[in-house]
Each structure stands twice: as C-alpha cells, then as structure tokens.
Symmetry: C2
Subunit: 348 residues, 2 copies
C-alpha cells in the first residue's frame, strides 16, 4: 500500500525532491548519490536508487545546466547545412561531440554575415559552452565583435581570422590539392587556365585564387583567369559562359571552385556545345556524390570532410577541458581523371 502523499502531483514528473521524500532522506543526499559523490553509505545508495527506479526519476538537464554553469551544448553556425559538404562536416562533428556528452545546436545563416553575428549572440544567450563556426565573411566586423564577446572557446572550420587570436581552427590545405591540379593541367599543355571561384571572403576561395596567381607569377607562359563570385550554380554558369565566349583568348581548362559552382559550370559547358575533354579540360574541387559517374569522370581536388568535422570537435573539446588552442591543417589530394586532356590545337 502506498502512503498517500499530500500534494504529490502524479501528472508532473518527479524531481530530486520527490525522490528524497520517498526515500526518506535529504535532497542533498539524493544529489550526492546521483553524482557519485564519495560521501554516501551503501544503505543510502540503495534507498535512493530504489526510489529513483520506483519513480522513474530523470534529472532535468536544464536545471543542472543552470546550477553547474555548463550546458553541455555547443553551437554550430553554418552557412548552408543543405550543402553536402557542410552536412558531412556536421556529421563528423556531431558524432565526436555526442560521444563526449555534448549536444549540437545547429543554426543556419544562409551565408549572410549579419545573420552569423546574430546567431553567435543567440548562442551566447543560450549559454552554449563552445562554438563551431564557418562564417560567411571572415572579416565581417559585427561577427568578429560578437565572437570577441563570446565567453567560451570557439573553433573556426575551414576559416581563418587574424583578428581572433583566441580561436582554434582547422582547415584544409587547399593549396596542395589545387597546385597538383594546375601542375597536371600545365603538363598536359594548357597555357590558359581559368578558376571559377567562390567568394574570396572565405579561406578556401582565397587559397585557390592564390594558387593560380602564384603559378602565373612563377610560370611566364601560363595565363590564368580567376572569376570570383558567390558559391552558387548561377555564378558558375554565368562566369563560365563569359569565359567560353572569349573567342580565341578563352581558357582551355576550367576549374570549378566548389561543389555548388560545379553544376553551373557543367550547364554552361553543355550550353556552349563543347565536349570535355576534347574542347575543354575540367577540374572540380571537393568530391561529391556522382562526380565519378559523370562522363567523362571529373578530375577532382579531394579531401576528407568527416575528418574536418571530427578534428573541429576535437579541438573544441580540448579547449573545453582547459587545454590550449591549436590550429590544424588537413591534407588535400588530387585525383586526375578523363576530364583532363591536352588542349585542342589552336588555329594559327
């Protein structure tokens, strides 16, 4: 027979209070048992645990967070989660963080720097313990300001920002892979290579542009064209169309500077009625589903995005456990394929 408890609302879930009452001990003892404090007798442990089981007690994570001053939550600010690249990074990060007991609060900025800043502020108010960040503009003043006010550690993923010396960071070695690609094209005989690039406000685009420019300086007979713009199919299409309309001066090889840009490039190439690689060589950045089934299969600058996410999570966890900030660079590679061939003979 259960003792009739005076005002124990059974619809409401049990708290430490109810557990204590039922076990006939103090609240503090319940808490001690549950948190594994050494000062508990075997008898106490059993009484409490029994009551916990009987009531189906579950701790309230919110109250714990408030009291302990740690929410066991990290924010992930991302430009566009629907981008498979971003999503792969997110997977790696979420898995690693969850393993360490953290949950991931995801916010999407639609690549709008102002939204980035707003989101950082939101995540501060939500008391996230740390931040993973792939901002849309590494130099955006409001974003940097909010980041400086953010009290917890922060990891930039595939981004760098000199004004944030406090932040850890992980990024791919974009130069290595793309350099290999350009070299490959040069060896095949290409003397005019174009890069349909993304937005230079972020690291990957700047690094890729830098590679082309460095080659242009170092190799006198190589002409390069860089077309910066947004990481969008529309930009890919328009920029490529413009390049291909260049008549005799047009490039013989085009590099798509990102998976979002690639479909646009392909569309423009198709619209121009050119065949790859006979009329034009093609390279893309970042392995994405189906790239290897295009005809011809596309040469690709590759990297492991799951790694990127995992390392980002690891760096954040390091800082959360008091260790120092770090910067990590991950390798990239280049997979040559049938989309690259010697350039067509120029009509002299």
């Amino acid at each position: 027979m259960t003792t009739d408890e005076p005002r124990t609302d059974p619809t409401r879930r049990a708290g430490v209070r109810q557990v204590a009452e039922r076990a006939g001990v103090a609240l503090s003892s319940v808490s001690r048992v549950l948190s594994g404090h050494p000062d508990v007798s075997e008898l106490m442990r059993h009484r409490v645990l029994d009551a916990v089981a009987a009531l189906g007690y579950e701790p309230d994570h919110l109250a714990q967070s408030l009291r302990r001053g740690a929410s066991m939550t990290v924010g992930y600010v991302v430009g566009d989660i629907s981008n498979p690249l971003t999503a792969q990074i997110a997977l790696g990060a979420e898995t690693a963080l969850r393993r360490a007991g953290y949950s991931l609060l995801l916010v999407n900025s639609t690549s709008d720097p102002d939204l980035d800043a707003q989101h950082i502020r939101l995540l501060r108010q939500r008391r996230t313990d740390g931040l993973l960040l792939a901002m849309a503009d590494e130099r955006h003043a409001a974003t940097i300001a909010e980041l400086e006010r953010y009290p917890g550690p922060c990891v930039l993923v595939d981004r760098v920002c000199a004004k944030l010396p406090r932040a850890s960071g992980v990024h791919s070695d974009h130069r290595a892979g793309l350099s290999a690609a350009v070299e490959h094209l040069y060896r095949l005989g290409h003397r005019h290579i174009a890069l349909v690039n993304g937005d230079p406000r972020v690291l990957p685009a700047r690094e890729r542009a830098a590679v082309l420019r460095r080659f242009a300086r170092g190799v006198p007979d190589l002409e390069v064209t860089v077309r910066p713009g947004g990481f969008t199919a529309a930009h890919g299409r328009d920029a490529t169309a413009a390049l291909l309309a260049g008549g005799a001066g047009r490039p013989t090889a085009v590099i798509a500077g990102g998976n979002q840009i690639l479909p646009g490039v392909l569309a423009a190439v198709r619209a121009a009625g050119l065949t790859v690689p006979t009329d034009l060589s093609l390279v893309t950045c970042d392995q994405v589903a189906l790239v290897e089934f295009l005809r011809p299969p596309l040469a690709t600058v590759t990297r492991d995005l799951g790694d990127l996410g995992e390392v980002a999570a690891a760096l954040l966890l390091e800082r959360l456990s008091g260790r120092a900030r770090r910067r990590v660079t991950l390798p990239t590679g280049f997979r040559a394929d049938h989309s690259c061939a010697p350039p067509p003979k120029r009509p002299t």
Copy 2:
C-alpha cells in the same frame, strides 16, 4: 576588509539582480519592464532600460527556460545528416523554426534504431519542447516506447507509425511519382522492372515496393523484382550486380530506390559493361545534385525536400501553440529523361 556588501563581481556578467541594483528598483520591476508587462510607469521603464544598456545585460536563456517551463528548443533526430536529402529537410525545418524563435538540437543516429531511442530520451531530459523525427525503424519497440513517454508534441518526417496516434506527420506521396515512372517504363515496352530498394522498415521503401507489387498484380504481363536492403551504395551495387547477372531473365529496367543507392547501381551497371538506355533503362528516386548531368541524364522521381522540412516545422509549431495534430502528404513528380528507352530486343 570584509565588506558585507553584496559582492558585485565585475568579471561575471550582469543579471537582473545587478540591473535592479543599478537602477535602484526591485528585481520584479526589471523583469516586468523586460517582458513587456503592462504595470510599468514610463519613468520605471527608462530607469531600467538605461541600466540594462549601461551593464550590457542579456537575459540568461537557461534560467528563463527553467522558470517558464519552455526551452524554445526542438530536437531533430535523424538517421544521417550527411545525406543531402536529410540536410535539405533540415534546412527547411531550421529556417521555419528559427523564424518562430526556436532553436534546433540535432542528433544523428547513424540509422541505428537503438540510438534513435536513446536520443529521444536525451532530448526529453534536455527538455526540448518538441521533436522532429525520422526514425530508422518505424516499428522499433524501444523507440515507440520512448516516444510515448515523451511529453511534448512530435512530428514524423517521411515516416508513419500506427502505434503513435498522437504524432503529427508529413510525408511525400511516394506512390504517385513512382507509379508515373513505372507506367512510363511499361509504355516503352518494358516487361521486367526491378527496384533496388531501401530498408522496408521505413515508409518510402515500403511505398515504393507497394507500387511495384500493385502493378504486378494489375498488369499480368509485367514481371517485377524488388530487392530490399539498406539505403547504401554497397547494397545498390551488390543487388544490381545480382540482377544483371540473371541472364535472359534479367530486368530491362532498374529503379534505384534512393539517392544513396544510386551510386552503387551506376557502379554495377558500369562494371557489367552495359550502356544506358540501350541495354538497360534507369530511373532514380530523389533529385540530387548532378543527376541531370549524368550521361544520359537520369529520369527521376522528384519532390521538394525543403517543403518537407518546412511543413514538418509548421506542424510542430501548430501543436506547440495548442492546435490539433495533422497529417500532411506532399506531392511527388516524375521527370522522364534519356535514361529510359524501349528495351533491347530479346534474342528468341
């Protein structure tokens, strides 16, 4: 030097307490001003707002959640966020939810039903106000049990579960699009159509299989084969290889039952040395990047995944604002393309 003044630690961020102190008013008044309570004089409003501005006060979302009993957070349990389909849904949902003031807690189950259940429990402890759920197995007992214990509203996305009458749901009308595809193939002359299907523990796979079986029953001279398995490229490859090895009895058209399966199907077709559509017609489910640039471009069962996410969010918001649960079905379409052609003549 012991001052019994209330210790005002300047390193610590200001709370309502500090604001009240500085403005020379009571805590309750600060709260009233900030929450727009009618009982505030103009003078009070200004004094408080000035103090807020001076101290840079920001409310603590955690404490608010605890006190108000609403965390303004919803959980999203997902099999694999790195799947672009899932990611697109997530984008739609996050955008709609954020507009309504909610944040999204993302958890990944790697399509493991047990993890699904664990995650639901975690999200309950974290006091999320509601749940978006695309479970790995609609009939998994532990998952259903946890879901029944979950106190808030819940929306199944692209899933159904008869045992959960409380849940809202949104799913695509998978039958419509796939029926159109099968009809198209039949009209072209195909009499043996195979579906390399996903895991029948979830709605989309079951619906797709149902379409094939219904046709088989209704159209006597049509043979169908369904190969269920995981939503993986490996299954796509193996199942397709087995089908194509079937000699004279092999299907003349293959449908890839999901974007994850497609690369495997393509690999097997390529390995078998067959050309599409001369030797084999191909259809895939779900528009995904680059599908239209395959050679030949793939006929596709289409749907709008952003919509799916947005509607899921809308259904959840409805329930959160006290309205009744609802089930919504979204349309699918079929885009015929060059990957479908009449079957090769059979050697008689």
